[in-house]
């Protein structure tokens, strides 16, 4: 379908170019301008990674702050699309709430109005191409520099240069049109015209994927008197609606909250658009009344349209800023997370391409998805021990759990791996590798340990799977000695899993730091004790050789589960966003310190 649309577009444009050089000039202007926008966005991305996300986190605590943030960043970057992408990516990562995201989108709408004023007041009144040329030359010069910041600055400069050049081409094309053909003869008046041109504006924006580019096109056409003022207003309304479709399409790969934000953007602009269509005559009167106060001449329709665009977007904010909380409630009702059935295949919850845009987002998303994978593996490890995950969190005495769960619980580990682990694990590793290739070494220092934590989680699962077969057999064995040994393995792992849950859930830093060290110590102690016990059982012939081999292997698997999960807990805890992050990392005992402690305890027990 997409390809067919592309072929039709190419054929239509080729035919139009053969018919009229002016259409070629206008289209080239649009293309150059769009390329400029892409370059501008690329440039801001170089700065966004380290800067914008920090501001976003600090300056969006309240709705009004979010609106100001959205307005300022969109004004600076001249791209509401990029700001929306940032907001969606931060919402997906859970860094900001949906209400703050809606605030940013509302602010972004105000920010776009500055672009219309710049084009109408500056771009169409002077020979803009004169400024474009040096910008392009210096921009390209900077792009070839190795410094990331200079490169980013180069992209911004070149982006502005291309945008200016695009406007110049569009202006030239429409001016030439004026001499040969009058497009206003296709103008449609009345309510029918409003609806028709709103639709054209929306479609043009969806095709160009930029409301800014649509606005430039509308303003240049209006300045060259190729469209009527009323139709230009309708096109502007359409552009504001069309831009939300782009965001909706863009959010298809985003998380549920990302989809909610795109839905909010669509609702806000479409509803304001519908209200505005009904109020166009009143708006025209208001503009006629207020334009002279701003020094806008009566026949300067480009500036009047910029004023309309401003009124439209302020109306949008006035209508929806007081309703943000209600909107959040509505969207939470519309977009409900699907509860996963036991038999269904699980998928990633946070990872999306959008999260790859910024360092901080990528790290947080990776961390959250790792916790998701851990939760699934935690579930299956408990089942592998023939207990339920609720037993771990229940607070029930471990001895009581062992007593109650004294029958083997059969579960297909391979099927579970296929449905709940494989895809998520693959996507996490893929995401981490892509992020590693994209971000700085500093960011990689945080990403690599989280990626490795995932490998450890899956290693723990594999060990659990290997252990399960004997576990099922021996916890119902008639040989009390082997049964006791397997229950000992269960007891130890239940304790470890319980401590891990405590680490993830506690708000007390000192408890977490203590438990993390304890996890490592217990894993070591258990390994030593289990080997001693095994030696005794073999020497006293209390278990058969086959049992001894199984027990030996499964003790190793239990140690693998224990030690791998201890490392996972360590990594996830350290990389959790916290003011005490530095301190907590420094005080957790390392391998050598734990070894020293176990050796001391061992010596004491021998003595």
């Amino acid at each position: 379908m997409k390809r067919l649309f592309l072929i039709i577009m190419i054929a239509l444009l080729s035919y139009a170019f053969l018919q009229s050089k002016n259409i070629l000039s206008v289209s080239a202007g649009v293309a150059i301008s769009l390329f400029g926008m892409l370059s501008l966005e690329e440039g801001f991305r170089f700065f966004a990674g380290g800067l914008l996300d920090k501001f976003l986190k600090k300056l969006t605590s309240r709705i009004y702050k979010s609106i100001i943030f959205g307005a300022v960043t969109t004004t600076l970057m001249q791209s509401s699309g990029l700001v929306a992408v940032i907001a969606i990516s931060f919402i997906s990562a859970g860094l900001i709430g949906l209400a703050q995201g809606i605030g940013i989108v509302l602010g972004g709408n105000i920010g776009t109005t500055t672009g219309a004023w710049l084009i109408a007041g500056f771009g169409l009144k002077i020979s803009i191409a004169t400024y474009a040329m040096p910008m392009l030359v210096f921009g390209i010069l900077f792009i070839f520099q190795s410094s990331k910041k200079l490169k980013g600055f180069g992209y911004i400069l070149a982006g502005l240069g291309f945008s200016f050049l695009g406007i110049a081409y569009m202006k030239e094309g429409f001016e030439a049109f004026k001499e040969t053909i009058d497009l206003t003869q296709y103008a449609v008046g009345g309510f029918k015209g409003l609806l028709l041109f709103t639709m054209i504006g929306a479609i043009a924006t969806i095709v160009m994927q930029s409301s800014h580019a649509s606005l430039v096109l509308i303003l240049t056409a209006l300045a060259a008197s190729q469209i009527t003022y009323e139709n230009a207003i309708a096109l502007t309304i359409g552009a504001n609606i069309g831009t939300t479709i782009t965001a909706v399409i863009g959010s298809l790969g985003a998380s549920l909250d990302g989809k909610k934000l795109a839905g909010a953007h669509f609702l806000i602009n479409t509803l304001t658009g519908l209200v505005s269509i009904g109020l166009v005559p009143q708006f025209i009167d208001l503009i006629d009344l207020t334009a002279p106060l701003l020094g806008i001449r009566e026949n300067d329709y480009a500036l009047k349209l910029a004023l309309y665009h401003t009124y439209f977007n302020f109306l949008c904010v006035a209508l929806f800023a007081p309703l943000v909380q209600q909107m959040v409630t509505l969207l939470n009702h519309i977009f409900v997370a699907k509860k996963l059935e036991e038999s269904e295949r699980d998928d990633v919850l946070f990872i999306s391409d959008l999260a790859l845009d910024f360092e901080d987002t990528a790290q947080i998303v990776l961390l959250k998805e790792t916790k998701h994978l851990y939760a699934n593996v935690f579930d299956i490890i408990t089942r592998g021990l023939s207990i339920h995950k609720e037993d771990i969190t229940s607070g029930m005495d471990i001895e009581d759990i062992i007593k109650i769960r004294n029958h083997a619980l059969h579960v297909d580990m391979d099927e579970f791996y296929e449905k709940r682990i494989k895809d998520i694990y693959g996507k996490i590793i893929n995401f981490a590798i892509l992020a590693q290739g994209k971000f700085s070494d500093t960011a990689n220092k945080k990403l690599i340990p989280i990626k490795n934590a995932n490998i450890r989680i899956v290693e723990a699962f594999k060990a659990s799977k290997h252990m399960q077969k004997n576990m099922l057999y021996y916890i119902e064995s008639e040989n009390e000695f082997i049964k006791a040994e397997y229950n000992h393995i269960r007891r130890n792992l239940i304790k470890q899993l319980r401590n891990m849950q405590l680490i993830f859930n506690t708000t007390e830093e000192d408890i977490a730091v203590l438990l993390l060290s304890k996890l490592k110590l217990d894993a070591q102690k258990y390994d030593i004790a289990a080997n001693k016990s095994l030696d005794n059982l073999i020497r006293t012939n209390k278990i058969t050789y086959a049992m001894a081999t199984s027990l030996m292997n499964d003790t190793t698997y239990a140690y693998t589960i224990s030690s791998e999960l201890a490392e996972v807990a360590n990594t996830l805890f350290i990389h959790e966003d916290s003011d005490l992050k530095e301190g907590r990392e420094a005080l957790i005992l390392n391998e050598t310190e734990v070894d020293d402690m176990t050796n001391n305890l061992n010596k004491r027990s021998i003595a």
């Binding site: 380290g50 800067l51 920090k54 501001f55 600090k58 007390e508 830093e509 000192d510 408890i511 730091v513 203590l514 060290s517 304890k518 110590l521 217990d522 003011d579 005490l580 992050k581 530095e582 301190g583 907590r584 420094a586 005080l587 957790i588 005992l589 310190e593 402690m597 305890l601």
Partner: protein
Amino acid sequence: MSGSKFISKIGELFGIAPENDESKKKAVKELVKKLKLRRISLKEELQAETDIVKREALKDSIKIIKKQIKKGKDILED
């Protein structure tokens, strides 16, 4: 907030200045304080505990905390 502190905060915000050691030491100091309190409460728990296994676990925890407090003090003295 003093001028230099303000500049270093802005520097940190813009990612052009590394986070200073002071913030790390402050975090360690706070954590050490909490760990000391935890050690006291664990010692009280140990005195009241009669179960051998649980007493062993408490003893281990106290030993770990002791080592962590020592680690923290070493960092603070650096």
